[in-house]
């Protein structure tokens, strides 16, 4: 029983970490209909900057994470402004293809330049918070923090989308780009802002990565693929979907890995394929 509880806790907390990064990707897809293969690079860069500043100053990594948020936003913004905006007017099929090429090229490029400048080795920040122990059970505060953060972000972004003008415009754009344009929403600026927000979320996830695990310049594509799977599972463009998708994946991995670590990863992909068979547009897709 204890083991079961522990596994569920571990799974949900891991899922929270997945959801954090998947969230941004989902947002980007929802608004600009782009499969951003460079999302993992944003995550990696967030972690890398955290690592570099941490090595130089020794500040609390999460504080550093907050400090780099504006830069992450800026990075996402210019990424969209210069690389994604030119594709916006193209036909659906062509746009999907060119966005794959552009983001794949950018991913390779960012990864390689980073590994040239900062070295290809794994980097991790040594920072730990004691865990909470209760008999044989334990809860990692760091992961709990990630979970709280993702829950807070979900609520926060939900209200942001409902209450503010930018938020409403963003939602309108997600639902109907042409309609939003007709009522006077500057859709291309909204897209860039979304990219900025997505990149910010990725960089927060990157900070958690560098603290809890480690990062390396070539990790980008691998994690992107995983997050793409999560948002497909939850339904492309659905925020709650990416949260649920992340937790489902975390739980599956956790529980199956307990019996056999090999099948944990396999089960995650199996579940994805199965869910798509039952619901061709993901759990919360429209």
């Amino acid at each position: 029983m204890e083991i079961a509880i522990q596994l569920v806790i571990a799974g949900i907390l891991q899922g929270g970490l997945y959801a954090l990064a998947a969230f941004g990707l989902s947002l980007i897809f929802g608004v600009s209909n782009v499969l951003n293969l460079a999302h993992g690079e944003f995550l990696m860069l967030g972690g890398l900057f955290c690592f570099l500043i941490f090595s130089a100053t020794g500040l609390n990594p999460f504080l550093i994470g907050l400090m780099i948020l504006p830069f992450a936003f800026f990075l996402g913004y210019i990424f969209d402004r210069f690389l994604m905006r030119p594709l916006a007017g193209k036909k659906e099929h062509i746009r999907l293809m060119s966005s794959i090429l552009v983001t794949l090229g950018a991913a390779l490029c960012i990864g390689d330049v980073t590994s040239f400048l900062a070295g290809a080795e794994e980097k991790g920040v040594d920072y730990s918070m004691p865990s909470f122990f209760w008999g044989d059970l334990y809860i990692s505060y760091l992961r709990l923090l990630a979970m709280v953060m993702i829950a807070g972000l979900t609520v926060g972004i939900h209200y942001y989308l409902k209450k503010t003008y930018t938020g409403r415009a963003l939602r309108a754009t997600t639902q109907n780009i042409r309609g939003a344009m007709l009522v006077g929403v500057d859709t291309s600026r909204i897209r860039s802002v979304t990219f900025g927000i997505g990149s910010m979320l990725a960089s927060i996830a990157g900070v958690f990565y560098v603290v809890l695990l480690s990062i390396s310049p070539d990790m980008g594509l691998t994690v992107t693929i995983k997050y793409l799977c999560i948002i497909v599972l939850g339904g492309l463009g659905s925020l709650i979907g990416s949260l649920v998708g992340g937790v489902i994946l975390g739980l599956t991995e956790s529980i199956v890995s307990y019996y056999n670590p090999h099948w944990g990863q396999t089960a995650a992909f199996l579940i994805l394929v199965l869910i798509l068979l039952i619901r061709p547009k993901g759990l919360f897709g429209k």
Binding site: Q6, E122, G124, D126, L213
Partner: protein
């Protein structure tokens, strides 16, 4: 008109075909050229990316001393590396070895990193009859089929951890072991040999698990580990991400074993773990000593700008370079066949240790225990006489 053009093209191509192969001409070699591929990009870059510099620095050191004496020409010849990036992919390695095989001035191959890429490379060596000294490749897959044109420098993967067992046998205090292995060619072999060794010596392996390389969530394994309560936790993973992730999560779970062994401990693992890395025991292809080889090795490391602990595989490189040098000197010629004969039969000493080749093609050099002490990697071999002695956590 059209027909004329195609006939002309055909004739031209035929001409090139006939003349082409004869365009090579021999001359007295001015230097000894060694061809190699290294993963300068791709997933092994973090492990071996810096060894291009190491090789060039070694060549620089030898050339400062005039080079390698070749009896056939009665003079010392400088040495030079030709290195390509295989991007951690066997098909690229194979392509570039084929490229180098066509260059008659290359008299020697160094193997690429890791067993399965070497596998592709050795077929080229065998086909073109060019001697190949393999470097970081000691998995059984490579030695299944005889191939005269390649030899290794390392003992089989199964024997790599053999020097660790005596530590615990001698010191006592630990009884039970747990092993966590990343599912790759080399790692599994090393742990398999180690576990057999442990059992032979009366130790108990209470938990043993093999996990796929991309594993990120180790919590389920750690739950089992906490139940099994081993004294020693061994982690063998080619990828530092695996090791770092596991250890951080073990710390989160509050499990404190008496000893942690990390198969591939590098500077970046130590940095990422901070003070937690203190007294982690590991293995390196180096031990403290005072032979000329030791001095040379430390000198080229100094010039390359890193230490043996940061890139633990650097020792293997040095052994391989040294064996190449010794083989050429001993053979006294650049004749490929004679060099290869020498490589097989040569019994020499490197860093004061016996180096030879087994009938299958394995080498005789293994890894030595070392430990993280004071945030640095130190050699703890030989067990009783070493400058630094082994500590439990």
């Amino acid at each position: 008109m059209k027909r004329k053009m195609s006939v002309f093209c055909l004739v031209f191509l035929m001409a090139v075909a006939i003349i082409g192969p004869d365009l090579t001409w021999a001359e007295d070699p001015k230097e000894i050229k060694i061809g190699a591929t290294i993963a300068l990009s791709g997933r092994f870059k973090g492990i071996v990316g810096t060894f291009k510099t190491l090789g060039n620095e070694w060549a620089g050191l030898i050339n400062e001393r005039g080079g390698i004496y070749v009896k056939e020409y009665g003079k010392k010849l400088p040495i030079k590396f030709e290195i390509y990036d295989d991007a951690s992919k066997p098909e690229n390695a194979r392509k570039y070895y084929e490229k180098m095989a066509t260059d008659p001035s290359i008299s020697f191959f160094m193997g690429p990193f890791s067993s399965f890429i070497s596998n592709a490379a050795t077929t080229v060596a065998g086909k073109h009859k060019i001697p190949m000294q393999m470097v970081c490749a000691n998995d059984a897959v490579l030695f299944e089929k005889p191939n005269y044109w390649r030899v290794g420098v390392l003992v089989p993967a199964e024997d790599e951890w053999e020097r660790l067992v005596p530590i615990y046998k001698k010191k006592g205090g630990v009884k039970t072991f747990a092993t966590i292995t990343m599912d790759t060619l080399h790692n599994k072999g090393a742990i398999k040999g180690f576990e057999e060794d442990l059992k032979k010596n009366g130790f108990e392996v209470v938990y043993s698990v093999v996990a796929p390389p991309p594993t990120k969530n180790f919590a389920p394994m750690i739950i089992k580990l906490r139940k099994a309560k081993p004294d020693v936790v061994c982690i063998e993973a080619l990828s530092p991400a695996f090791t770092i992730g596991f250890l951080k999560q073990m710390r989160e779970a509050g499990y404190k074993p008496k000893e942690i062994i990390v198969g591939h401990v590098t500077k970046h693992v130590i940095d990422a773990l901070g003070p937690y890395a203190e007294n982690i025991t590991g293995l390196a292809y180096y031990y403290d000593g005072d032979t000329q080889d030791h001095k040379d090795f430390l000198e080229i490391l100094r010039r390359s700008g890193f230490t043996w602990g940061e890139y633990m595989e650097s020792g293997i490189r040095f052994w391989a370079y040294t064996r190449i040098k010794q083989a050429i000197e001993k053979a006294g010629t650049l004749d490929r066949k004679k060099i290869m004969d020498t490589l097989w039969n040569m019994k020499t000493k490197i860093m004061g240790l016996d180096s030879f080749v087994t009938p299958e093609g394995y080498g005789a050099l293994g890894a030595w225990p070392c430990q993280v002490q004071g945030g640095k990697f130190v050699s703890i071999w030989p067990l009783d006489k070493a400058v630094k002695l082994h500590n439990y956590r």
